[in-house]
Point group: C2
Chain length 408, copies 2
């Protein structure tokens, strides 16, 4: 086994991107109705002007603004009503000075008009006579053709996460199908002689496979999919065989580590046994999560995660999420709240520390309490809502301090 | 048409819950692997002790702690190594004073031992002689049976949103299938003579249906599903026919309003034409979103949304999300960031104002700029990342102030 220096979190992220820089996620086309949370794999240009006609933003009358100048409650302007534009229909009559046409919100502005006076500022004397009580300026209450989005303009960037709002924009542009990145596919290999699957009987000394399910959740949350999951014993040949299969079927291979030192050695050797750069990170100065392994085999990412659920989750969120977001060019804002720390907490010198916390809200202010527990306890997972990050150069956390809590 | 008083946002939320208090969402069973973001429809009690045996949290030797007392670097304690516990196997040998058994992390503690000394603090003289360089106390480096979760204890509450961490907890408990609330089902009716669907040609005066797609996104994000979507002309009979069908097929009927006053009247009358309480809110003091209609027909919620996309999104997030979360008992923390406002902004007296903003991050600090634009512009949707809420009693926003920005 080679000797590796433990790298910093930043260096780990950098090495991951650098060593997998040639890997590309594929593109597929989806119906926009089913596109929530996918990532745009193409730039979207508008092939129309939005709106594609001059639209009213109010219910009222289309007029020449000059006809309203000088109008007031005491001396209204008087105009002739010469017609009405119906919703969804063409404005087929033009107006001249002294004339007005009724236009509803969203309706088309007739030729000759340069402003819309709101119905509230008018009074109809009879079917054809309109009084105007307020002066308005040119362009008032009108959205002009292309004002919103110009034909040919870049409307949405590649790498944009598709939100409900983006779905609305795509619909406005008449784009029913979009190119998105295929869901990154993961193959989860859980190793350890003590690990049994969820439906197996829990005999003495065994422990249920927790990581696979927590990782599957993280993968789904990230917008990825699990192509297969498997539990194997601590054995070099079994592991190599599974990784070989996994490299064929998925984008990323996760080896959720048995906790024994032996397994770590297997993992390292197995990764090095494929074509490619092999292991490029073995050990990261992160707490928890130090025994993290990153490697490249047959052009794909093979990632060795620590055996403890909390460590495994932290390492996934720190490195895999960062890697995928970088690859797809996503600029999501990590959901977080600011909270008052109600505890003192020392940092681990030279390591970035991730600490799970419980959150409590009182009068709109969040308070964070650390979720402590012996390593590997799963109740930490059920009672925590977020985590804080203490950088390696920091001394720790002081009670009363306000810090960002990233939501789980 | 009845005359309705415009109600406050809080009153609107209250009336919604009160008038639909008898409505219940159904429960179904899902595989935990596909349970991310679903809501638990049952309380989960642990049917096992976790862990179900005394486990080591380190690689080292199981000993009687009293045997280590007085041990130091210069005067180590000397013990006999009498065996090894293998991962996933029973510890079938007990220890007596003066003896030690090797146990890996996660391995079972043998009878007679009350502590684990880490391998780093020991030295093996030969296969059977162990030197101990450090005193340890009773219980050190051991997680006792049931320490994490006790058999019979409440592990997860009903109404809990299933996160990756919760999936891990369920796996640990050996629960492969859980009861969750069925996805709330929505039927979206988009009304307006000017509205055309996404694949239709955009002829003059028409406008594409944006709301349906944005609403579908919001529904999916909330964990719901769209059973059908339809566009109809402004016509009482057509609307009544669709709502009747919708009441049969879905939990909640959304009528995404044409902007005309006529349509609002139709919507009101249609809702009142079914059995039940009829319309109970017509108009809310919210900006944007005033022309919101809430009613109950045949025991189900019929909700009239404003025609403008931004208003429609704000109203959905404010009322429908709140309603569903309350019904399912979910206590999600709304994703948000604190940001410095880089603008002054007046409030709308007596109304709660929702203002879309763009976010910019610099050195870890967020700055918010309002997304202004004429009503109905869709570019507001593509350029905004969040929104701020200005309560009706507030004077407005001051430049330089720090406020919560809720993420879209």
């Amino acid at each position: 086994m080679d000797f590796f220096k433990v790298v910093s979190v930043e260096e780990g992220k950098r090495l991951l991107k650098e060593n997998l820089r040639d890997y590309e996620f594929e593109i597929e086309e989806v119906d926009i109705l089913n596109s929530l949370d996918r990532v745009l794999g193409e730039e979207i240009y508008s092939n129309i002007d939005v709106p594609d006609f001059n639209r009213s933003t109010v219910d009222g009358y289309a007029i020449k603004s000059s006809d309203s100048h000088g109008a007031s409650d005491s001396i209204p302007s008087i105009l002739n009503i010469i017609g009405e534009v119906k919703m969804g229909e063409l404005a087929n009559k033009a107006i001249k000075s002294g004339e007005a046409i009724y236009v509803p919100t969203g309706g088309m502005i007739p030729d000759g008009a340069d402003s819309m006076i709101m119905i509230e500022n008018t009074e109809k004397m009879d079917e054809s006579i309109l009084l105007i009580y307020k002066p308005i300026s040119q362009g008032e209450n009108i959205v002009y053709k292309g004002d919103d989005i110009k034909k040919g303009a870049l409307a949405l960037e590649k790498g944009r996460r598709i939100t409900p709002e983006v779905m609305g924009v795509l619909a406005a542009l008449g784009i029913g199908k979009v190119k998105v990145y295929k869901k990154p596919s993961f193959y989860i290999i859980s190793t350890g002689d003590e690990i049994i699957d969820i439906e197996e009987d829990l005999t003495m000394g065994k422990i249920r496979d927790i990581n696979t399910y927590a990782l599957a959740g993280l993968i789904h949350k990230l917008g990825g999919e699990v192509v297969n999951k498997v539990i194997i014993k601590d054995d070099y040949n079994l592991l190599r065989q599974e990784v070989e299969r996994a490299l064929d079927l998925s984008d990323i291979v996760l080896i959720s580590g048995g906790s024994s030192v032996g397994t770590k050695d297997f993992t390292h050797k197995v990764i090095d046994s494929f074509g490619g750069r092999g292991v490029f990170v073995h050990g990261v100065s992160i707490k928890p999560g130090k025994p993290t392994i990153m490697g490249e085999g047959n052009g794909k990412l093979i990632f060795g995660l620590p055996g403890h659920p909390v460590s495994s989750i932290i390492v996934f969120k720190t490195f895999i999420e960062d890697f995928i977001k970088d690859k797809l060019g996503v600029k999501d804002i990590a959901p977080r709240v600011k909270a008052i720390m109600d505890f003192n907490f020392p940092s681990a010198p030279g390591r970035v520390t991730y600490q799970l916390v419980k959150l409590k809200e009182e009068d709109g202010i969040f308070y964070a309490t650390p979720s402590f527990g012996k390593s590997g306890m799963i109740s930490l997972l059920s009672e925590s809502q977020g985590y804080i990050v203490i950088e390696s150069h920091e001394e720790g956390i002081y009670k009363g301090e306000e810090r960002e809590v990233y939501l789980l």
